[in-house]
Symmetry: C2
Subunit: 262 residues, 2 copies
């Protein structure tokens, strides 16, 4: 898919708005039809490590869980951080297939039934579209002076951002460190051995949708020599704030901090 996109179109970053606040420059952009946002230090210029953040299911590129990571990555580490809308959410057009599958799952869940075959179908649609979206975005961002292609790239994503992130990381050699988690499936277990970069893997001990044993099996299946499992009590939505600090340390260790605080 990436090859095809590169051959037929190689879209550049088109900045649609820019603001500066609290030492952070925020630029909304599109790459082809993909809406995204780039955060960099307000005063920074020249190349710097880039962290891509994948948002959760039904969320968008500027959800609170993205912002709460992106801002300290910029201010503490001097990184560039980018987030894009997944197909069908945020600034992207409605996606009939995704809408149909989500409706089917919602209906089944309301009836107390498991999500059924709509769940793996939704994951497949999402991955098929967003992996090349991320790769095209990365191609374009690396052409910007303030990102460049000489610095390492990291990926952060939990839940839907974790599942699609595992596919992206397995396919994309430019990404050299990743925080992943809050998702598991047989498909993810099958691709996990292809992931060999350092991974911080986050799970919630009482995640009703992702049983402990399956999460631990997925962690075990990762091919990375350096992988660290962080498990905390609570539901899918209760990842403690101190994991943000931990992810800052993880990326500073692997991408090389540009800031004074690390």
């Amino acid at each position: 898919m990436r090859r095809q996109r590169e051959r037929w179109c190689n879209p550049a970053v088109r900045v649609t708005s820019g603001t500066v606040a609290d030492g952070i420059r925020e630029q909304l952009f599109t790459v082809g039809g993909i809406p995204g946002v780039l955060w960099t230090p307000a005063e920074g210029c020249g190349p710097r490590p880039l962290v891509l953040i994948g948002h959760g299911g039904g969320q968008h590129k500027k959800e609170p869980g993205v912002l709460s990571r992106a801002f300290p990555y910029v201010t503490s580490c001097g990184f560039a951080v980018a987030s894009i809308d997944a197909p069908g959410v945020g600034g992207r057009p409605e996606h009939p297939e995704i809408k149909r599958l989500v409706a089917e799952m919602t209906e089944r869940e309301a009836a107390g039934e498991p999500a059924g075959p709509a769940w793996p179908a939704l994951c497949e649609v999402m991955v098929t579209e967003i992996v090349p979206d991320w790769q095209a975005t990365l191609d374009a961002l690396q052409k910007l002076d303030r990102v460049g292609d000489s610095q390492p790239v990291g990926y952060y994503g939990l839940s839907q951002g974790g599942g699609v992130g595992m596919h992206l990381v397995a396919a994309e050699p430019r990404i050299t460190a990743a925080v992943l988690g809050l998702d598991e499936s047989d498909v993810l277990i099958s691709i996990a051995p292809r992931i060999t970069i350092p991974v911080e893997f986050v799970m919630q001990w009482d995640d009703a949708g992702h049983p402990r044993d399956s999460m631990l099996t997925l962690f075990d299946a990762l091919g990375s020599a350096e992988k660290t499992l962080h498990a905390n009590p609570g539901s899918h939505f209760e990842v403690p704030d101190f994991e943000i600090d931990s992810s800052i340390r993880f990326f500073a260790r692997h991408l090389g901090s540009q800031g004074a605080a690390i």
Copy 2:
């Protein structure tokens, strides 16, 4: 045991030597017959949080694994840090019962057999002696101006230091945060629900002596509302160095850093 010790003797810290290097004051001391070491900032005075570090089996109060934690706790956080020799090692007299049990275990292990009943017996002897030793040491250290009794107390211990640490933490309300791990047993699982302070729980994914399932069961049994599991690949002896940094953050969060770096 603690009550008896307090009634019949309430030994003070007797400093036997002191040195200053790299911004750290190191004082060797005894409390009753217990040899210990206290590290504090060279320039510091007045009360400060205290971290007690329990060493590993067959080791001593100044083993490398203790020093590698103690020094950054002092320099990064401004904490006081103390370590004592467990019965039968370091500066303490030979302990015939411990020596006999260790010899029995060593012999069985050399023959390829499990440690057998000597292991729980050794744990029981160790815990019975070192928990009141730690409590007497804490009583005495809190009378020093540069420690005081107004600041929180943490405990760090893995392996033997983790096992005895769980007993200590369960018995000692002055300890309000602990890094524990690399040990499990049915006894530990039975006392774990009594531990309710924040715990960072460290396990090694490929620890031949402590199976994953047992470690996970022990983590699950901890009564703490805030408990975080950190699991890394490798053997019992291969805890990655970045866990030192994580423990600094953990104690800074829970004890309140005195330093500028956190």
